[in-house]
Symmetry: C2
Subunit: 362 residues, 2 copies
DNA sequence: TTGTAAGCGTTATCAC
DNA sequence: GTGATAACGCTTACAA
């Protein structure tokens, strides 16, 4: 590895000087000096010098690294990909790196379990996605830590960033109303008095609110209490019953894609054409139609923005030391029919010319 | 932050001693010594000591960090989630951390572009997922680097780890044959002499091979050259034409989920019942039926295993300095109808008792 | 603007 | 088994 020392030797100056020049801490106002600085930079470039982050971290007392923690179980360690995207982008803008840590929640059953992430000191903060299927009891484990936490897709007064699902329910319902629908149903995942995640009851409440404001009658199907482990079984059966319950509705707002697709299956069994006979709108992180070719419109859950806000909050906590930041409900803004996938035409990319970057021959 | 120095002070020993004890480098064979060591550990525990990874890295000359690089463009920065899972798990077993770096491929059009990842020295290696939509010209950019690379889902002689799609095609076709089918079609994404990714031509070749070996006639639909940017458009139209071309086939093997769903749409338009009238089998990373409720069986692409092998290869490169490792084709092994989603019953998790881990009050 | 030197937290070496 | 001490690569007073 190329060190500052080597550059210093080649340039015939001291390490401190190289460091200062490379970090732009010299004015370089006189030509002779400017030339020398240029030479130093050139040598660094030629040698392929890259500052050693570990050394820098020690001085700064910061790692420049934030963890994205997903806390689920195998097969349930799901997180929305756009969220990762948002987090990554926002951290990058602050020259911060991102490390990903999957933690199987079962492991916490062993009370002595400490994840790798917390066994050593490596990160300045943690952005945590606690899978909705898990109990909140893991929360204090992380909240009690010395390293600051922000929580995505969770809803508590402090340090949480989540989609504003009540507003989302209103937003989606108003879209259907604006399209001229009067008989609009809502297809829930669980029973109407149950909720497997706050997003479910919030979207439903938003729907109810918007319907009431418009003087329309809510149309619902109450499937009673569905045990957690049954949630993803017999979905088509439930969709068939729901469709019957919805009667002459002309539009259905679905809690998620997992409701929309079985509903569409049920429709196609009965010869109901979409979207002509029934306008299905569903919440999902990416446009359902472009993923599945099924003609369903999608209310885009703003997970990317959630990620961005979370990363920004994290940066703020790190910069200021503040921990008591209020939570953020991120508004909904998009309804999409199709995602314009832009595949690049056959060859757009230039290969990077050799020597165009810091990395040099080994 | 708690340092070794503080522990040393409290314990009345030197820093070196604390380090040795905490790293288990003492035999601790005599009771007096064992007791002292225990006390040191206890103090560390109470103080919530965590070794500073940056300091450790400097000594070791290693970061204990590997990057997963996804090189695509917004909306195309896709990678299979199970792969991340596999990489994460295998790295964790080697006490190595994982950092994720998304790089928008367009940025390479600027020849001076250097991603954050390569501007500083932070990782011991890079596992790269180059989106199939991109040109291979980015390859030398990374391969020329000082930091070792492994490539996932790419196919070259060295340092690549990819699903063995030829064998996968054989595997899937034989499954259909074993189920008694004789008229088995293959539904390709592009024209038969085109291929947008090696997996497409390999699966097709595997299918052809297995059919031939069984003395069966391949049934294909050649859609001619589909321009890249048209690939994901008019998919249902193409599926309708394909279905017509397949004639009296009783089973169809699809290149991917994006083929299977439109095909199913086309079937349902014509009143063809699945799986009774037509047995659809498709390649995908996770079971299609549990994701979409559509009755299609899935040949699981072994991306998780690809991730595991990649991480292992990376570890080996780091350990041994070897760079000329031969590529690995990972075999197919699973066909699934449904994924058993195990949602935990309502409360399984114990909250971690305070003090059960290194982290202590701040 | 420069060189010198101290120091970040840890580990390894070497006498004791 | 222990305690000094040096070293890892870098930044930053401080004095020149």
């Amino acid at each position: 590895m190329v060190t500052i020392e080597e550059i210093a030797k080649q340039a015939g100056v001291s390490a401190g000087t190289v460091s200062r020049v490379l970090n732009g801490k010299n004015k370089e106002d006189r030509p002779a000096i400017a030339r020398r600085c240029a030479r130093i930079r050139e040598i660094a470039q030629t040698l392929g010098y890259r500052p050693n982050v570990a050394a820098r971290s020690m001085l700064r007392g910061r790692f420049g690294l934030v963890a994205f923690v997903t806390c689920g179980t195998i097969g349930l360690d799901w997180f929305p990909h756009p969220m990762l995207h948002g987090i990554h982008g926002a951290l990058e803008s602050a020259d911060t790196r991102l490390t990903v840590n999957e933690i199987a929640a079962e492991k916490f059953e062993d009370e002595h379990f400490v994840p790798l992430l917390l066994r050593e000191s490596t990160v300045d903060g943690m952005i945590i996605h606690l899978n909705p299927a898990f109990s909140d009891r893991i929360v204090p484990f992380f909240e009690g830590d010395r390293v600051p936490c922000a929580w995505v897709n969770a809803k508590r007064p402090l340090r949480c960033i989540y989609p504003d699902d009540f507003a989302g329910g209103v937003f989606a319902t108003r879209d259907l109303i604006a399209r001229g629908h009067k008989k609009i149903a809502f297809f829930n995942r669980t029973g109407l008095n149950e909720s497997w995640h706050f997003s479910e009851s919030d979207r439903l409440a938003g729907y109810r609110h918007a319907m009431e404001q418009a003087g329309l009658e809510p149309i619902l199907y109450d499937q009673g209490k569905v045990p957690r482990h049954e949630l993803f079984k017999q979905v088509v059966d439930r969709a068939r019953r729901a469709l019957t319950a919805f009667g002459d509705a002309t539009a259905v707002l679905c809690y998620e894609m997992e409701e929309a697709i079985p509903l569409w299956v049920a429709c196609s069994e009965r010869g109901i054409k979409l979207p002509a006979d029934l306008d299905i709108l569903a919440f999902h992180e990416t446009p359902i139609e472009s993923e599945t070719a099924i003609p369903v419109r999608t209310v885009i859950v703003p997970f990317k923005q959630v990620g961005i806000e979370a990363a920004n909050m994290m940066n703020q906590m790190i910069e200021t030391g503040q921990r008591e930041l209020p939570s953020i409900a991120v508004p909904y803004a998009e309804i999409e029919t199709d995602r314009p996938i832009t595949l690049l035409p056959d060859a757009v990319l230039q290969s990077a010319p050799a020597g165009s970057r810091a990395g040099a021959p080994s």
